[in-house]
Each structure stands twice: as structure tokens, then as C-alpha cells.
Symmetry: C2
Subunit: 182 residues, 2 copies
């Protein structure tokens, strides 16, 4: 990777637009499940803005979907977070890892990626199970889960770094996982 | 979902920042593989901007990662695309589906989600296999693949809608899949 030219300016990026919002029972990030996978029995809805609702055509025939969201509850959304952080799951050990080896919400771009179980798709949105988002979170994109694209190939279990060294309990929230680092 | 209040204004969203760029052998979207999963033998790199490189700490211990990218090659990035489109894979049938039931690049927010096989993580970036991006694509986020979070639970194969009705050939590109719809 020596000699990569990053001196050319990156193209300007248009502002993202919310396509809708998530309606959930959670108001406080510290008591919100850390991942959809640890809250499979919790239900919520996505309501799309009218101009985008036709884009749901065909989604009911999928069992799972990815929500790409904007995690809007950051204290200072324009600030750059620390590049090494203590993830929620490593609060007991107070161990830091790189933000790109973590799934935490304090990122350069606060984008959330949630795998949710689709329950009912309506004209205007859908209900789902597996909730790791606070109420009112803006949705930037919905993509159907496609096994052929989204599961690593082969039968071997992929290495998952520091996640392979810890247990992840159902219902885990930041506040249950220990004190917030400074 | 009746009665959802979308009248409250959505919070303003800060502009996204590129954390780096993808360097690939592809220049033309029509001859670029449609998904990382159909180009597992193709190799590319991500080079991060210096201020974000420390965020790579720990990523080498993962086999796979998600790249969230900005698909910057849209002709008119500010325009809203059609909500029902013919996906690349349905060009032979010329069948339309909703954009949120498709993985195509012409979205309200042109966000790409690519599952890539990590090969070598260096100080400044990483090389990977599985390439569905053109050269120079801005990277918005890198997240490690975590089986516990990213694989639907249970042994049953999830329903994947219209993808379950078609074969997806290794090396598929838009131009191999038929003429571009109007």
C-alpha cells in the first residue's frame, strides 16, 4: 500500500437525507441494547416518508433487512471521536481497541448497521424484531439481507477478533456492562 | 403503524466525511462485479487518511469486515432515483422491485455495503478480497464482521425474496447481465 496517492481531493459528498425514522421504546442510549442480535424479542417500527414508501415493494418477501441509520444522539456530532475506545463489551476490562475494530456508536461518521428480523411490511413502513436504536433515530437506507452476499463463504467460522474472547449476554446494554470510561 | 408522527422535523444531519478511499482495478461501474460475494478472487486496498489510521488497531484479528462506502459515481447525486427499479440481476427479465428490496447502487442515499475478506492490515490501511467498487470510492466506515451480530439466528435459511428465484453467477457485472433499462 506504499505510494497510494491521497493528495487528490476526495469528491464533495452531498448531505444524507433521512428516508424515515425508527420508533422504539428506548429513549436513553445507556439503557438501549447494544446490538439488535441481543434483543431479538424487542419490537419496533420504521416509518418511511411518503415519497419513499413505494421503495418497499418486494421487501415483505425477505426475512431480514439491514438498517443503516444515523446515530443522532451523539453529544457533539461534528467532533472526531477517539480512534481507540473502550467498547461497551470491554467496559469490564476497560480495554481499548480501534474504532474500526469495534461496533460502537462513536465513529467518524455515526452510521449504525442493524440486522433486523422483518415482521410485517405495510404501505408506509414495517415492523421488526431486534432493536438497538433509540426512538426517533433517522434511517438512511434499508437493504434486504441476502445470504449469498452477507454470509462469509464456506463452513469455517470466521475469526471475530476480540469478540471471540468474550460472552455477549442477551439483553446487554451499556449501563449493564459497567461504568462509562472518561 | 397508523398515527406515526412524522411532522416533527428530522434533526439536521452533519455532512459525512470520507475516512479514506478504495483502490481497485475497476473504473467503469458497468464492468464492475455487482457484489463482493461474486468477486472473491479479486483484490483491492483501502487506504485511510492519516488522522484515522489508529482506528485500525485490532482489525487484523478479524477475517471479514463491512465497508460502508459512498457510491460517488452517480450521474446526478442530488437527484432522487426511481423508487422501483430493475436491479442488475433482473435485467434479463426487466422486472422492477422497490429500491429497499434491492441492493443496487441508485438509492436515496448512495451508500454501499460490502462484505470483504480481510487479507493484510497495515499501519495505514488494509488489503482485501471481494471487490464491487470502482477505484477512488470514498469509504465512510469500516466495521468488523461479527458472526453473533451479523448472521440471522437459527439453522433455517432466511427467505431472501426475489434473490431466491435466480442464480447469481461468479463474476456477474451489470454489462454481462443485459441492457441497461431506460
Amino acid at each position: 500500500m506504499v505510494g497510494m496517492d491521497l493528495s487528490a481531493p476526495l469528491p464533495p459528498m452531498p448531505p444524507m437525507r433521512a428516508i424515515g425514522v425508527v420508533r422504539t421504546e428506548y429513549l436513553d442510549p445507556e439503557s438501549t441494547p447494544i446490538q439488535a442480535a441481543v434483543s431479538r424479542d424487542v419490537h419496533a417500527t420504521v416509518e418511511l416518508l411518503p415519497e419513499y414508501q413505494e421503495g418497499l415493494d418486494g421487501l415483505a418477501e425477505f426475512d431480514y433487512a439491514w438498517l443503516i441509520t444515523w446515530l443522532h444522539n451523539r453529544e457533539d456530532p461534528a467532533a472526531t471521536p477517539a480512534m481507540r475506545q473502550v467498547p461497551f463489551l470491554l467496559r469490564p476490562q476497560q480495554r481499548r481497541v480501534g474504532v474500526f475494530a469495534s461496533r460502537g456508536p462513536r465513529r467518524v461518521n455515526s452510521l449504525g448497521l442493524s440486522l433486523v428480523h422483518l415482521e410485517r411490511v405495510s404501505i408506509s413502513g414495517f415492523s421488526f424484531a431486534g432493536v438497538d436504536l433509540i426512538d426517533g433515530t433517522p434511517v438512511l437506507d434499508v437493504k434486504p439481507y441476502v445470504t449469498r452476499f452477507d454470509r462469509p463463504p464456506g463452513d469455517a467460522e470466521p475469526r471475530c477478533g476480540w469478540f471471540d474472547t468474550i460472552a455477549v449476554a442477551e439483553g446487554s446494554t451499556p449501563s449493564k456492562l459497567g461504568r462509562r470510561p472518561e
